[in-house]
């Protein structure tokens, strides 16, 4: 905490000094621009305070907390099964993926494990919510850079995925489907065939976006070399997910840890990019959607038979202990540190959400960029407000 304070103070002093220098040289004064809390580019209520010299950013600082909902505190007055309804709403575009690490942590404390069929279906739904999340990012990217058309393609094709999630769980946005010891229900009839056709559509969507946006010279000139995050800076700021992989770090929690999930039963690739610029981050995400469709396709072929729920007591009491489980969510590493005192509900839950750590690099990466690049960089860092503020 003190380190962060020092850094803030240092950057503030640097801003003052830069201001003084500019004032002496040109006799102009800087302008402080508040981007947000209400602003089209912040997908919610993030506020970026930027001190500008002309159109160049001297100093910028994200101000989070406009949408704080106190989920960590609220979990303390809920029972374990009730918590999933809350944490659904952290990263609201990939809701199912939020439930999984918490349920896994609770299962770890209780010493139960979901049956193989449930693990498979969990993984499929996890990847579907990743696709729903990141495909919207790919469309939104266009809007942030001024191209209006891709976002409609994204909404169109994301709808198919949401329909699948709805068919399986009953909820488009907030499934609340994961249970301690398995899943609420089995898959509906026809889900597997439908998912196969949707995955083909999603791959076509990726090709479309690639030719429409990524192949566009203007898009490339706007994103290449903009907001470069070198490997060690990315590591030291605790970035995760595609932001880290775009800086050349091959790190994916789906592959690198041994969870009771089905990722290791599919053959897929962890994409990285050496550049670390905005283009790399967007490109890595595009490839991840493709990999996700592949994972889903392979897992659909190998769903084992059996129950989707193990035997757990009707009233769940989690034994005393502490557990930490994190997974590779659409936005990056998301983890829950669950402390239980043997009650119906958790004693304390610490939520580590990806976006909060990912935007901590904003002051570093925004220094010296132009105003339009702020938007590019924020779009490519890809945060969701619920994931920052919780």
């Amino acid at each position: 905490m003190t380190m962060l304070g020092d850094r803030q103070q240092l950057s503030y002093i640097a801003a003052q000094a830069a201001d003084a220098r500019v004032n002496v040289e040109l006799e102009t004064e800087g302008m402080t621009l508040n981007i947000g809390p209400q602003h089209p580019a912040t997908h919610g209520t993030l506020r970026i305070v930027a001190r500008l010299d002309g159109e160049q950013v001297v100093w910028a600082e994200p101000v989070a907390g406009y949408m704080h909902r106190g989920y960590e505190k609220l979990t303390e007055v809920r029972t374990f099964p009730q918590v999933t309804a809350l944490i659904n709403r952290i990263d609201w575009l990939g809701s199912f993926a939020n439930e999984v690490p918490f349920i896994l942590a609770a299962e770890k404390l209780m010493g139960v494990e979901a049956p193989p069929r449930a693990q498979h279906i969990r993984t499929i739904l996890f990847e579907l919510s990743r696709i729903a999340n990141v495909s919207l990012f790919l469309g939104d990217l266009g809007v942030q850079l001024g191209a209006v058309t891709p976002v409609f393609f994204a909404f169109r094709d994301r709808e198919y995925v949401l329909n699948l999630i709805e068919a399986a769980t009953g909820g488009r946005f907030h499934p609340n489907f994961d249970r301690i010891g398995g899943l609420k229900d089995d898959l509906p009839a026809g889900f597997i065939d439908e998912t196969r056709t949707v995955m083909v559509k999603l791959r076509r969507f990726c090709d479309e976006i690639e030719s429409l946006l990524f192949g566009n010279e203007i898009f490339q000139s706007r994103t290449r070399g903009v907001g470069v995050i070198p490997r060690d800076v990315a590591l030291s700021y605790g970035l995760s997910g595609a932001n880290l992989r775009a800086s050349g770090v091959e790190w994916d929690l789906r592959r690198d840890q041994d969870l009771p999930m089905a990722w290791n039963k599919a053959d897929w690739k962890v994409w990285t990019h050496p550049d670390g610029d905005s283009f790399a981050r967007c490109w890595v995400r595009l490839q991840e959607v493709r990999e996700s469709t592949k994972i889903v396709d392979q897992l659909l072929d190998t769903i084992p038979a059996g129950p989707v729920m193990t035997k757990v007591p009707k009233i769940i009491k989690v034994p005393e202990g502490e557990a930490w489980v994190s997974t590779e969510n659409p936005l990056g590493e998301m983890g829950y540190y669950v402390v239980s005192k043997g009650d119906l509900g958790p004693f304390r839950v610490k939520i580590r959400s990806a976006s909060f750590n990912n935007i901590s690099i904003v002051p570093w990466v925004l220094r010296g960029v132009y105003v339009p690049d702020i938007i590019t960089i924020l779009a490519s860092l890809y945060f969701i407000l619920g994931d920052i503020d919780r």
Binding site: I35, P40, G146, F153, R156, I218, Y370, V371
Partner: protein, 350 residues
């Protein structure tokens, strides 16, 4: 050639009404056909469908909505509220000034003078003033950034536009838009006059540069940095509401229509058909019915030109400010200078 003699007031009234039609009709058509429908079809949706058949009356509904809204002047802009309020009118005025020199037929013109294109290029930059006023008087940082960006951009792209037009002027030997139309339609390509000689063929580079500059002048994507809704909210228009926003909106699309008319006059033969089809040789031979058919031909050509402008607008991301300036000064201007040189040499040679 005109058979009717009109009193001065009647003629003036006719011109005012004609001017309104010439500005508002293209604006409405462009908004409905392209902004509402073409954009929707490109984005796999239907667009407005409820107001009128296929949503064709949507625009009237929108205008009605805007007229009902409160005319807000932000508190910080209150001391200069008058300046704040006239800004959209200045922008729209530039469009009306622009349409004054566009010829619609052999006799269907508002004014026919020899400095036509020179005048058109000059008054088209009046809109910069309005935008700058709007940006500055809004007392809003986003508006200010948007206004300054617009000023920088419009000045940078004025130059390639002028230089691209010079090629046409050299080839036609006149700055009078009416005579440029006649030069194209009475012309011939190596002795074959079936198509006239639209300058699109001989001045193709000039046409491309002109269209790029028009795109920038209209602040359409990829040159919509001044509006840039994802970063500057709505640029210089951020603080405007109600009918003042409506005027900006009409101004934007009316200017798109009028600039496309000028582009079709300069490069596509304007209102005319190749004179050889009907055995005409000069403007005095042209039959009177061309005064009715001519505007329709010009309108069709305008729609085609706007189609390309909008096609680019809906599919491209936008440039960054510095990239945009670099593109104007380092790419467009040298090419257009070379174009002038080549045109001049060929003009002397043939």
């Amino acid at each position: 050639m005109v058979g009717v003699e009109l009193a001065y007031w009647a003629e003036s009234l006719l011109r005012v009404l004609g001017g309104l039609v010439a500005v508002l009709l293209p604006a409405g058509t462009v908004v409905y056909l392209f902004l509402f429908k073409m954009m929707s079809f490109m984005q796999s949706r239907l667009g407005p469908m409820e107001a009128g058949p296929y949503g064709s009356l949507q625009l009237f509904a929108e205008v009605g909505k805007w007229l009902q809204k409160e005319d807000i002047v932000p508190t910080n802009a209150q001391p200069e509220a008058r300046i704040f309020k006239i800004a959209p009118l200045v922008v729209l005025a530039s469009t009306f000034l622009l349409v004054a020199v566009v010829p619609f037929g052999p006799d269907a013109w508002f004014t026919d003078f020899d400095g036509g294109i020179f005048y058109a290029l000059a008054v088209s930059s009046v809109s910069v003033l309005g935008i700058l006023i709007a940006g500055w008087s809004s007392a809003n940082k986003y508006s200010l950034l948007g206004g300054l960006r617009a000023a920088g951009q419009l000045i940078a792209y004025e130059l390639p536009m002028v230089l691209a037009v010079i090629g046409v002027v050299i080839q036609a030997g006149t700055m009078n838009l009416q005579k440029i139309v006649v030069a194209q339609n009475a012309g011939e390509i190596f002795g074959w006059d079936g198509l006239g000689n639209p300058f699109l063929l001989t001045q193709f580079v000039g046409f491309l540069i002109f269209m790029i500059a028009v795109q920038a002048e209209l602040t359409q994507t990829p040159f919509d940095m001044p509006i840039a809704e994802s970063e500057l909210v709505s640029g210089y228009m951020t603080e405007y509401s109600g009918f003042r926003f409506l005027i900006f909106f009409i101004g934007e699309f009316a200017t798109a229509g009028v600039f496309s008319m000028i582009a079709s006059v300069l490069f596509l033969g304007g209102w005319g058909v190749p004179f050889a089809w009907f055995g005409w040789t000069a403007i005095d031979d042209v039959d009177n019915w061309m005064n009715v058919v001519g505007p329709l031909i010009l309108f069709t050509k305008m729609i085609i030109v706007v189609f390309f402008v909008m096609w680019v607008r809906f599919s491209y991301p936008r440039f960054r400010e510095d990239q945009l300036q670099r593109f104007a000064w380092k790419v467009l201007i040298p090419i257009s200078l070379a174009n002038i040189m080549v045109t001049a040499v060929l003009k002397v040679a043939f």
